[in-house]
Symmetry: C2
Subunit: 301 residues, 2 copies
Amino acid sequence: MTKEHIAETFKGIQDYICRQLETADGKALFLEDLWTREEGGGGRSRIIKNGNAIEKGGVGFSAVHGQTPEKISQALQLPPADFFATGVSIVLHPHNPHVPIIHMNIRYFEMSNGTYWFGGGIDLTPHYIVKEDAQFFHKKLKAHCDHYHPEFYTTFKKWADDYFYIPHRNETRGIGGIFFDHLNDSTYGLSKEQLFDFVKATGMLFTELYVPLLKKNSAHSFSAEEKQWQKIRRGRYVEFNLVYDKGTKFGLDTNGRTESILMSMPPEASWEYDFQAKAGSQEQLTLTQLKKGLDWTNESI
Amino acid sequence: MTKEHIAETFKGIQDYICRQLETADGKALFLEDLWTREEGGGGRSRIIKNGNAIEKGGVGFSAVHGQTPEKISQALQLPPADFFATGVSIVLHPHNPHVPIIHMNIRYFEMSNGTYWFGGGIDLTPHYIVKEDAQFFHKKLKAHCDHYHPEFYTTFKKWADDYFYIPHRNETRGIGGIFFDHLNDSTYGLSKEQLFDFVKATGMLFTELYVPLLKKNSAHSFSAEEKQWQKIRRGRYVEFNLVYDKGTKFGLDTNGRTESILMSMPPEASWEYDFQAKAGSQEQLTLTQLKKGLDWTNESI
C-alpha cells in the first residue's frame, strides 16, 4: 500500500463527506480552495457557510511532503529525514445551538526511514448535551471500534477524554468520542492494511454519525439566549483549539497554511466575564456533564 | 520601598483609571469581583460592559505570593524560593470599530532571595488605523519615556513591535506602543525608586492616552460591515492572546484565575475563511500598516 494510494483514498473520503453534507444541508455548497505548499505538496480546503443547517464549516484534505521540520524530528528523537503526511480534517459549526459542533480527523504519516503511523479521531461538542444523542454517538463508535479490536473503544475513548480537555476551565470540550495516534503494526498486532481499513472506516462513519444528529436537532426552535449560550460554548472551542490542540499548535509552529489550520474557528464566538448558568437550567446540566470518564454506552447513565 | 507599598500604589492606579474611564464612558460603572488565591494573595477584578463607548473591558489588580511555580524557577534557572507579584492589567474593547482596543499592564515581581524586576507596557490595536491618532499615541509615549531615559522609547517600542506580533498572520497586533520586562537597577543604571516612578507614570499615563482617542472616535458613525470587520480584528486579538501572549500562557499554565486572565477576551469575535479586504479600502490600508518598525513619531510617515 503506497502513500499515494492512502492519499487518493483520503481524497475520496473528502469527496464522499462533502456530497453527503451538501445533501443533508440542502442549501449551501462547498467552495473549494486549492493550495500548494512551497516545501512540497498541498491540499484542497472545502468551505461551506450560511447553509440551512451549517453556519460555517470546513472539510480539508492535504498531502504534504519535504524535509521533516526540526521541531518534529527533535520531538520524535529521529535523525533528519523526509516525511510525507496526508489527512482529512473536519469541523462543522451549525446555526442551531441544539445541533452539536463536530470534529473528525484521519491522518497518515511516514518517513523516508520506513517509520509510519496512522492517527485520527471523532469527537462531538454539543452546546446542549442530549442524553440519547450522546448514547447514539458513543454506541456507534463502540460498534465501529469493536469490529477492529476489542481494546480500541475503551482505549481511544479514554484518549479522547484526556485529549479534548480544557484544564483552565476544568471541562472537557464536549462529550468526547475517540482519539488515536501513532498506530502502526507494532501497536496492536494489526497489519498496516487492517489499520488502514480502520482509519478509512472511521472517515466513512462520519456522516452516519453526524447527519442524523444534524437533521433531528435542526428542527428545534431556539431563543436568543440559547444562541448566546452557543457563542459562549464556541468561545471555549476557540480556547481549546488555540491553547491546547496539538495539530493547531504544530501547524502554526511549522509555518503551515494558516487559513486551513484555522478552518476550525467558529463564525462568531462570545466571551462574558464569569458567565454563570442558572441553577437547574439546561445550560447548567450540560456543564455538569462536561467531564471525563462518563460511559455513554451505558443505558443507565 | 516595600512590596506592600508598590501593591498599594498599584491599587491606587487601578482606582484612578476606573474613575476616569467611568467618567469618560458616561454610562456604565465598573463591577468589582474580589478573589483570593489558595496559595496566597488575591486580587480585585473590575469589569465594565455595555457602556456608551466601552462594550467590554476589565481593569484588574492582583497581588499574589507563595512558592515560586516550578515552571518559572526552571525558566529563570533559580533555586526554589518564595515570590511576590503584583500588577495592574487592562484591556478595553469599545463598541465603535473606529475606536481602538487598548491594553496596558504594569507589574512588579520579587523573590525571597532579593531578585526583583518591573515590567509593563501599553499598546494600541486600532480596527482602523488613523495616522494622527497613531502619531498622538506614540509621541506621547516617547515624551513619557524620554523623561526617564533617552533609550527607553526606542528600546521599548521595538520590544512592543516584536512582542505584539502574530507570526501565523504575518501581522503585528496593532500599532504597538511600548513593552518592557525584567527592569531592575542593573539594567539602565536607574535606581529602584526611579524605575518605580517610571512604572507608576506609565500607569497614570493610560487614560491621558486613551480617553482622547475614545472620545474623538466614538463620535464616528459606523456600518454593519465596519462592525463585522471589528469582529474579525478581535478574532486576531484572540489568536494573539491565546497562542502567543506570555502572560496569558503563564497564567493558564500555573493554575491562575481563569476569569481574570481571560478578561482580555472580546465580547464578540468572528472568523471568516480567507477574508480578503477590498483593494483600496480602509480595511486594506490598515492591513498594510500592521507591521514592525513603523516610526509613528515621524511627521512624514
